[in-house]
Symmetry: C2
């Protein structure tokens, strides 16, 4: 790129998969990226655009020669175009839609009428559907004649006269059966359809839970409108996990490629929430200023109690948040789980009460101080265990994403309880 040798660049990038070129572009700095894109020019492939994350994609669309952009978009399947344009600004969206042939354009525009993150946005509209009474021979002949078969498909969908899917047949079964076999004799068990308005997270969950390879999407009247394949579901599953993991850490939707100001904007709100809860904890401490002034060792030891509670609570809440996401924690077993977590909290509390009690005794030469920190440790680890499970369950029940808000609540509880129990016991016993 530095010497501006276009032929050499094309020769270098030629053997790479679009996803790898996209990753490379994401890892460059903006200046090199622009030069590379402008140099690559005509060779720029639509699939690279599909693979880029939003920030970099928006940037590159601006650099691209409009003719190259139009060409790039025309090569893509309708679901990839939807994915590409759905988060673009109006004028950019228009420019891309105009580049499409009229049939594709209508398909994309219809897909955009479904709500964001719904099955309707995720599906491809190219389907292979036949009347339910057809035979293997009829189906194979139809497929040999049809010219617009989808790039990838795994099932032939059987539909009734009202275009409602009733079953499907795998291509493998179709090939292995004699021509005169009725399709209805070789359908797959466990056939499922997906409502077009279903949330894409639930779609991905169903694919993973039931090992679905592809499933027809239906509208409110149960009519076939498209099909979702496992590769799209896998991408959604990956994104949902990413979201969960980032939310647990209080980072909204961060990625390494976000611009500086976006990153600051994503992180500030959570730090602000944390500041409020930290001030709350500090105000608990300020209730005990007199005690601390008399026994400074209290100030030294108090963060240990709070920190242990915070860690134990985070462990429990992470397991609970995951279990809620995978539907392993439900009304049926919530009480048993809470009881078990509470028991774990008591056992951990007793263990660390003993250890920390002895350490405090040796460190400050005061058996009473050892007893105080031990007692506070038991209380705080018990409360942490309960809060770690109850908080995410209650948030989920209130329809708040437990991954997003549990951490703050739980650590606030463990900080407040940790400081209050330790300093409170100290006042009762020492002063």
């Amino acid at each position: 790129v530095d010497v501006g040798d276009r032929d050499q660049l094309v020769a270098l990038l030629e053997p790479l998969h679009a996803a790898d070129i996209a990753d490379m572009l994401e890892q460059m700095n903006a200046y090199d990226r622009r030069r590379l894109v402008e140099l690559y020019d005509k060779e720029f492939d639509g699939e690279i655009l599909s693979e880029l994350n939003e920030g970099v994609r928006d940037e590159i669309i601006q650099y691209l020669n409009p003719e190259v952009l139009k060409e790039a978009v025309r090569e893509l399947d309708s679901d990839d175009v939807v994915d590409l344009v759905e988060y673009l600004e109006e004028p950019q969206q228009e420019a891309i839609l105009e580049a499409l042939e009229i049939a594709d354009r209508v398909a994309v525009e219809q897909a955009l009428t479904y709500p964001e993150e719904s099955a309707g946005r995720l599906m491809q509209r190219e389907v292979v559907a036949v009347p339910e009474f057809w035979t293997v021979g009829q189906t194979i002949d139809m497929m040999r004649e049809r010219e617009d078969l989808p790039e990838q498909f795994y099932h032939v969908i059987l539909v009734d006269p009202k275009m409602r899917p009733v079953a499907h047949v795998t291509l493998g079964k179709l090939m292995a059966s004699p021509r005169k076999t009725a399709l209805s004799e070789i359908t797959e068990p466990g056939f499922r359809t997906i409502p077009a308005l279903q949330d894409e997270g639930d779609v991905a969950y169903a694919f993973n839970q039931y090992h679905i390879i592809s499933a027809p999407v239906v509208d409110e009247d149960d009519r076939l409108v498209g099909v979702i394949t496992i590769d799209d579901a896998m991408i959604v599953l990956d994104l949902e996990h990413e979201e969960d993991i980032l939310r647990l850490a209080g980072v909204g939707e961060g990625s390494l490629n976000d611009r500086f100001t976006e990153t600051v904007k994503q992180r500030l709100p959570w730090l602000a929430v944390n500041l409020c809860t930290a001030i709350l904890s500090a105000s608990v401490i300020s209730l005990f200023e007199d005690a601390i002034a008399k026994v400074v060792a209290l100030a030294v030891l108090m963060p240990i109690v709070a920190s242990m509670g915070g860690n134990a609570g985070t462990q429990g809440l992470t397991v609970a948040v995951r279990a809620i996401a995978t539907k392993d924690l439900t009304g049926a077993n919530v009480w048993r789980v809470i009881r078990r977590e509470a028991a774990v909290g008591v056992v951990n509390g007793l263990s660390f009460a003993l250890i920390m009690g002895i350490i405090a005794f040796v460190w400050f030469g005061s058996p009473v101080l050892g007893a105080v920190i031990g007692a506070a440790m038991i209380v705080n680890l018990f409360v942490a265990a309960i809060a770690g499970t109850v908080v995410p369950v209650v948030l989920n029940w209130l329809k708040v994403d437990p991954a997003l808000a549990s951490g703050t609540f739980v650590t606030t509880v463990t900080d407040v309880v940790g400081f209050f129990s330790f300093l409170g016991f100290a006042v009762l016993v020492l002063l």
Copy 2:
């Protein structure tokens, strides 16, 4: 189950998918689970066993009538049996292997010779491969005659005379082409093979990155030994995410179904590590006991500085750990990312220094105290930003899983720096 009505139970469970029955079993308590399994008896399906998590699966295998178990296992594909037996104890493993037909048994035993979590364990051995010079017609005729076609397959693999895969053809293309077409004319672009010894996490990454549906697995001599399909890769991807998210929270391999003692065992080590780091932070505080005894407000405010640093560090490290896992953070962009994170740290530090400085001033009426906490906040958020990225990168470079150990390191750094900078500045300025 309570009334012991077997017929009613069978009728109730009949329409459910094996994965849902497995989830239900996992959510029951051990006593009910045992009664249900014993009552269900002959109807117990091998697929339910495949869907259960390890703890519950081991338990149920013990309750099951040996005849029922044998019958259940015989229905499964070889890769599911491998999955079932690989973590069982020797005698149980033997019992299941003996139930298999000799050919299946050999297949399973061969799969078990591959290392745990390798592509060889994940693959199914049933493949559809044909000589590379065949035509569409020959292939379809072969498939109609073969009786042992895999349950699900998506490609016909073309192999050379030494059984080395050279390309593959989708079933869709196969059906849509005239009988006399040579297979070599309709092969898919982007064909990839997977080495049998490759780590299953890398396999899942490749499926997700390159949108692979199925790929042949080859041994060291590049000969075809099996095939991995996207549904297996999706399960691995799901498990890897689960592992990452739990490790970030310091829970080894927790699940809600682990027994009480296992849960305690998983969580104790991380709490113990945390205790050590908390004591380290406390010993930093103890250096400043005199200062705290004189100005108790220091004890009230110091956890705020540490807490803000811990949160900012966790945000940065989570983004970094994810980026390392998805190969978005590499040698190529690590310096740019660190510089950007440091800049974010400075901006966040300045914002919260101002806010917290004013709060401390108002709260304790001391402008100097406000300046001290502000300065400490800037230092700690800057250090947190650097540590949040550098720690996971260095751990990864040392081949330690960054998800597992980063959190502890980063919060230790932010606690120590937070307490030291705040109390240190206070000593310099106030005393």
